[in-house]
């Protein structure tokens, strides 16, 4: 029985070996076919890639991770709340759903737009009743990534816990079964493959801000964007959610 979302050393090494083998195999097949698919296609793992179908919407992961089993996955809600609780995917899909078109903007400059479907993080609160002292949520993800968002940010109208993308269930690469969509924040504040949401009473620094020179706030700043569907042509952006 494999462990969902927990990346052991053995699993990591297995994934690494599988990736190397796939890369070598693709290399032997020649340059034309070498990048027809991303290196994780056909494997039991997902990880960072910009290849194959993902060339139009890049995929970033903190670490390669084993694909999540939808039958055993649950979302755990923990920390400073009255009722710690787990939700099955079916229970989450039954919550009032809305969809929105929004652009995911990576701090590495690229961006891509999709139609996301899901529910507001506020929908969970009557069921778990966060303490008055709770200031924000730490998201624990399948790739061992952690990210923090304050409740104020999670309560914004355009923020979504998404389980569909472009009308279909989220793919493994895009964060199956559940990811956060916060369109005014850089991609690293939009955690994927969420396993647990932990209510906490003080600001915490997420994985990406810990290891790199990235702001814990993560608001998209005025500057430039290079949207993938427009051939990465540089566009000026005013900061916050990108509207084109």
């Amino acid at each position: 029985m494999r462990q969902i979302g927990k990346l052991t050393r053995r699993i990591f090494l297995q994934g690494g070996l599988a990736t190397v083998a796939l890369l070598l195999w693709n290399g032997f097949r020649g340059p034309t076919k070498a990048w027809a698919a991303d290196p994780f296609s056909g494997t039991d793992f997902v990880g960072k890639t910009r290849e194959g179908k993902h060339s139009s919407f890049y995929i970033n992961f903190w670490k390669p991770m084993r694909r999540i089993n939808p039958e055993t996955w649950t979302l755990k809600i923990s920390g400073l709340c009255e009722t710690s609780k787990t939700f099955t995917l079916g229970e989450l899909r039954a919550l009032p759903m809305r969809s929105q078109s929004s652009r995911l903007k990576c701090v590495e400059c690229w961006s891509a737009r999709a139609e996301w479907g899901g529910f507001s993080p506020k929908e969970l609160e009557p069921m778990v009743r966060p303490h008055a002292s709770a200031q924000g949520v730490v998201f624990h993800c399948g790739d061992e990534y952690k990210e923090y968002l304050p409740l104020e940010a999670l309560h914004q109208d355009r923020v979504l816990l998404a389980h569909t993308m472009n009308g279909a269930p989220l793919s493994d690469a895009h964060g199956f079964p559940l990811r956060l969509i916060a369109p005014a924040k850089y991609g690293y504040k939009n955690p994927k493959a969420i396993l647990e949401m932990e209510y906490v009473d003080e600001q915490q620094v997420g994985t990406w801000s810990k290891i790199g020179p990235y702001s814990p706030d993560g608001t998209i700043l005025p500057g430039w964007d290079h949207p993938l569907e427009y051939g990465k042509e540089a566009r000026r952006i005013p900061g916050g959610e990108i509207t084109y």
Binding site: V107, P213, Y214, S215, T219, P222
Partner: protein
Amino acid sequence: MKPLALFAFLVLVPSPAYSSEMVEVPAGEFEMGNNADRYALPKKTLRLGAFSIDRFEVTNKEFQQQFSNHSFWKGSGAHPVTNITWDQAKTYCEQVGKRLPTEEEWEKSARGTDARLYPWGNEPLHKKPHPFYSGIIKRKVGLNKKDTSPYGVRDMAGSVWEWTESGKNGEKVARGGLWNHHLDYEYGKTFDRNLIAPSERFIFLGFRCAKSEN
């Protein structure tokens, strides 16, 4: 300066009343806009009457004096106030007997009459505005003495963006620039502008006030 002394200087020294200090910009013509940048307004010569503008952006402490429920981290009283809507900025200015500057006034205050690209001249500063960091770190207003316009107005290329009175199609014009490694002052030219919905609040967006000279 030793770390302890620096800490004491930054945290313990009381913040002066920055926004009470205004700079007079005399009446006259100036060049506005830039034809080489498709995001800027087209180049034109404008004549403005005399006006005064705050030398510094409004700080957290000053904003709290008008809006007592405004909170900020200890030690950030002299940082520019941000995360406020256009209406809040406008109300603040009116409560202290001023108004928001127009986009034209803001640009003249930043670039003077010689159409300079940056408040200090035409070349980016050698020192990066915010090395090795992607994101905003707010600092005490007026900290970078090189970021000074011909009229002595501070922080018009760095620090934070600023609301103005001007707008278009329901949005308001923001002017200014950021301390940001990725941007490297390239997006802090005197004619750079953004249109932002007045209800938005951002960590990178503050303001300063102006006053007509009668």
